[in-house]
C-alpha cells in the first residue's frame, strides 16, 4: 500500500513481453455474442426427439468458451474472459444455482423482450459453486490472466421478486455473503481479478450505500492482491460520486463512451484516487470506432487518473453486437491502447495527468 492508501493490484497483469514502458491494462466487461451454432445446440438439447443430450451440450459450451477466449487472446487483450458463454442471462444464471430461488415464468422488460425474473421464496443459501468450473476451464485454455465477472448482490436482489425478506437491502446483504463465499472459492482456484457487476444501481442511485455495504461483505477476507472491480453503467454518476470511492474495491469500470464523456467532469472533484476502467467503445452501435477515435477516448481517462491507474475497456458487455463488430472493436481498442502507451513513453501526450 502506498502512503495515500492506494493498493497496486494491477502490475501483476502486465505481460512480461509488454512492448512499452507505460502499461494501459486492456480488458473487457464480460459478455460476448454467442456463436449461432451454440444457440442451435441449446435448442437441440431441449428437444427430446433429438439425439443430443446434456453431455453434447456441455461439449458445445466448452467449444464456445474456448473459441471466444481465443478470440479475446487474438485481439491482444491483456486480461481475457470466456465471453460468458455458459451464462444464459446475468440474473437467471446465478438464481438457478442459489437455494431459495424459484422461477415462475417470463416477465416483460420491453416490447417482446422478456426475462425469467426469479422469485426469492425462501432463505438464500450457497449450494454449489457458480463460476469455479468456468474459471478453471478458461485458465486451462489460455496463458493470459482471466477476469471473472459476477453479477452483484444488489442487482441479484433488485431484479428478483423478494417474497421472503423484509426488504431488498436485507436480501442483498444475504446474497453478498454468498458472493463472498464464491469469491473465496475462486481465489482458491487461482482467480486474481474479480469484477462485481451492478447495473441495477443505475435505476436507483440513491441506494449506493446498500451497494457499499454489500461490497464490505464481499471483500471480507479476500487477499489484498486480488483485484476487485465494480462495473456500473447507464446512470447519473453525479448521484453516486464521490461516495463510491469509499467502497472496498480497487477499480471502477464505467460506461462513458455512449454518453460521449458528458459525465467526465463528475469525476474530477474530488480527485479519483482508485483505478479507473474507462469505457472507450460504445456497445450500442455496431459501427466500429477507428483506432484514432478510440485513442482520443483513452486520453479522456487521463484527465481523471494517471496512466498507471487507467484500464481500457468497452462501455459494457458486447453481447448484443454482431460478433464481427465486437471483435473488431476489441482489436482496435487494444491497438489504440498500445499506440497511446508509445506516445506516453515518447512524452507526446500532455492531457491531464499525462502532462504533469
Amino acid at each position: 500500500m502506498s502512503p495515500d492508501g492506494y493498493v497496486d493490484t494491477r502490475s501483476q497483469f502486465r505481460p512480461e513481453d509488454h512492448p512499452n514502458d507505460h502499461f494501459l491494462l486492456t480488458t473487457v466487461v464480460g459478455s460476448y455474442p454467442k456463436p449461432k451454432w451454440l444457440n442451435r445446440a441449446k435448442e437441440l438439447a431441449e428437444d427430446d426427439d433429438r439425439d443430443f443430450d446434456d453431455a453434447n451440450l456441455e461439449e458445445a459450451l466448452d467449444d464456445a468458451a474456448r473459441l471466444i477466449t481465443d478470440e479475446h487472446v487474438r485481439s491482444g487483450l491483456d486480461v481475457v474472459v470466456d465471453g460468458e458463454m455458459r451464462r444464459n442471462e446475468m440474473v437467471e444464471y446465478f438464481a438457478d444455482r442459489i437455494d431459495g430461488y424459484e422461477f415462475n415464468g417470463p416477465v416483460k422488460v420491453w416490447g417482446h423482450n422478456y426475462f425469467d425474473k426469479p422469485s426469492v421464496a425462501d432463505e438464500v443459501r450457497y449450494d454449489e459453486p457458480w463460476l469455479v468450473d468456468e474459471f478453471e476451464f478458461t485458465t486451462g485454455v489460455t496463458d493470459r490472466p482471466v477476469k471473472v465477472p459476477i453479477t452483484g448482490p444488489y442487482t441479484l436482489a433488485s431484479w428478483s421478486f423478494n417474497e421472503h425478506y423484509d426488504d431488498e437491502a436485507e436480501l442483498a446483504y444475504e446474497l453478498a455473503d454468498l458472493v463472498n463465499e464464491e469469491i473465496n472459492a475462486l481465489v482458491a482456484a487461482g482467480a486474481r481479478y474479480i469484477q462485481i457487476d451492478e447495473p441495477a444501481l443505475a435505476t436507483t442511485p440513491d441506494d449506493h450505500a446498500i451497494v457499499g455495504e454489500c461490497l464490505e461483505h464481499i471483500a471480507d477476507g479476500v487477499p489484498e492482491d486480488v483485484r476487485l472491480g465494480l462495473h456500473v453503467c447507464y446512470g447519473d454518476y453525479s448521484r453516486i460520486y464521490p461516495e463510491i470511492l469509499d467502497m472496498p474495491v480497487h477499480e471502477y469500470d464505467l460506461e462513458l463512451a455512449n454518453g460521449e464523456y458528458d459525465q467526465l467532469d463528475v469525476f474530477t472533484q474530488p480527485s479519483f484516487d482508485k483505478d479507473l476502467a474507462l469505457g472507450v467503445v460504445d456497445v450500442h452501435t455496431a459501427d466500429v470506432e477507428s483506432v484514432e477515435s478510440i485513442k482520443q477516448n483513452i486520453t479522456k481517462g487521463l484527465e481523471i487518473v494517471p496512466p498507471e491507474r487507467l484500464t481500457v475497456s468497452p462501455d459494457c458487455g458486447v453481447k448484443l453486437l454482431p460478433r464481427e463488430a465486437a471483435y473488431r472493436k476489441m482489436e482496435n481498442m487494444v491497438q489504440a491502447a498500445r499506440e497511446v502507451e508509445a506516445e506516453l513513453d515518447a512524452g507526446e501526450v500532455d492531457v491531464g495527468y499525462a502532462g504533469e
Binding site: N104, G105, V107, V109, H112, T203
Partner: protein, 325 residues
C-alpha cells in the same frame, strides 16, 4: 352499506403462448411494436389474448372486467404511441422499473384515434383504463405545443375525446402514478387536477384516479380533491402511512380505491390478509363511510408472471368477499 368491488388497473401480462406467438409475428425491435396499424394475424392473436384475459378475470370472480390492455407495448404511453402525429423514438426507462417504453414525441395536433374505444368494444369490458392526463404528459415529449401548460391541456383534451367515444362502462380508471413519482410543482398541481376534470367530464361512468408507488404529496393531493371524480385510489402496498395521512388530513371522495395486492411481487396474498388490509383502512378513518370500495392491485399487472397473476386475481376476489365493514 359499503359495497366492495374487486377490480384491477389493467395492463395484464400476455399469456405465455402469446408472448412467443406475438414476438414471432411482430419481432423484437422497437419498430416492431404496436403503432396502430397491425396486420390481420397480429390482430387475430390479440383478439384471442383479449378473450383469455377476460376468462382469467371471470374465473377469478372479479366484479369489474377490463380489456387487459395487452396491445399496450409502451405501457401507459400507448394512447400516444398509436397516434399519427406522434413519433416513437428511443427506448426510455419506465419510472423506476427495469422496464422500458418508446419515448413518444408529439409533433402535431392531438385528435382522438378511437384506438382504446375499439379495444373496449371488442372486449365487452365493464371498466375502462386510461393513463391519467398528468402521467401521460410526464411520459411524453412535446415538440408541437410549445409550453407545458398548453401541452398538458392538449393531452387532457385528447384523452377526453378518446373517452367520449367509449362504449358504456361502469367505471373508468385513470392511472396517475406520476402524481406520486414526479409530483406537479406549484401551479402545475392545480392544472393537473383540472386536466383530470376535463377527462372525467367526458364520460358518464364513475371515474377513479388511481395513484401508486408511494403517496401523493400534500399539496397536489389537496388539489386532486377538487377534481370532480368519484374516487381516488391509494397504494396501500408501498405506503400505507402516507396514504392514511392524506385521507385523514384532507378527506377523500365518497368512494375509494385501495391498492391492497402487490402488483410487483410474486408472493400471493391470502384472502384474509387482503380483507384485513381493507378493514384496517376503514378503521383508520372512522368519520367516513364509503359507498364503494374498489379493491385492486396497487400497480398494473404486466410485471408479474402469468401463474401468479391468476393466483392473485383469485385471492383478490375471495378477499373482497370476506370484508366486513
Amino acid at each position: 352499506m359499503t359495497e366492495v368491488l374487486a377490480t384491477t388497473p389493467g395492463l395484464y401480462p400476455l399469456p405465455d403462448w402469446a408472448k412467443d406467438e406475438l414476438s414471432d409475428l411482430k419481432g423484437h425491435q422497437k419498430d416492431d411494436l404496436v403503432s396502430g396499424g397491425e396486420g390481420e394475424a397480429v390482430t387475430e392473436t390479440y383478439g384471442d389474448v383479449r378473450g383469455e384475459l377476460l376468462e382469467w378475470q371471470i374465473e377469478a370472480g372479479l366484479d369489474r372486467l377490463v380489456e387487459g390492455q395487452s396491445r399496450w407495448d409502451d405501457m401507459l404511453a400507448h394512447p400516444l404511441s398509436v397516434h399519427e402525429n406522434v413519433e416513437t423514438r428511443g427506448i426510455v426507462r419506465y419510472y423506476d422499473n427495469n422496464n422500458f417504453y418508446r419515448e413518444p414525441v408529439v409533433h402535431g395536433d392531438l385528435s382522438a384515434t378511437g384506438d382504446v374505444s375499439a379495444e373496449l368494444r371488442a372486449a365487452d369490458a365493464s371498466q375502462a383504463i386510461l393513463p391519467g392526463p398528468y402521467s401521460l404528459f410526464s411520459l411524453a415529449t412535446d415538440e408541437h405545443y410549445g409550453d407545458e401548460a398548453a401541452f398538458l391541456d392538449a393531452i387532457a383534451e385528447f384523452l377526453a375525446a378518446e373517452a367520449e367515444a367509449f362504449p358504456p362502462v361502469e367505471t373508468l380508471f385513470l392511472l396517475e402514478p406520476s402524481l406520486v413519482v414526479d409530483p406537479p410543482a406549484d401551479g402545475e398541481d392545480e392544472r393537473a387536477s383540472e386536466a383530470i376534470d376535463t377527462v372525467a367530464a367526458a364520460v358518464d361512468s364513475d371515474v377513479v384516479v388511481h395513484t401508486y408507488w408511494g403517496s401523493i404529496p400534500e399539496k397536489p393531493y389537496a388539489h386532486l380533491m377538487d377534481a370532480d371524480v368519484e374516487a381516488i385510489g391509494f397504494d396501500f402496498v408501498s405506503d400505507h402511512d402516507g396514504s392514511v395521512y392524506n385521507i385523514q388530513e384532507y378527506g377523500t371522495k365518497d368512494d375509494i380505491a385501495l391498492g391492497v395486492v402487490d402488483g410487483q411481487n410474486t408472493r400471493v396474498e391470502r384472502p384474509e390478509e387482503i380483507a384485513e388490509r381493507i378493514e384496517w383502512v376503514d378503521d383508520q378513518v372512522p368519520a367516513q363511510t364509503f359507498e364503494t370500495v374498489y379493491a385492486t392491485p396497487n400497480t398494473e399487472l404486466f410485471y408479474l408472471p402469468t401463474n401468479r397473476t391468476k393466483d392473485k386475481l383469485g385471492a383478490l376476489a375471495a378477499g373482497s368477499e370476506e370484508v366486513s365493514l
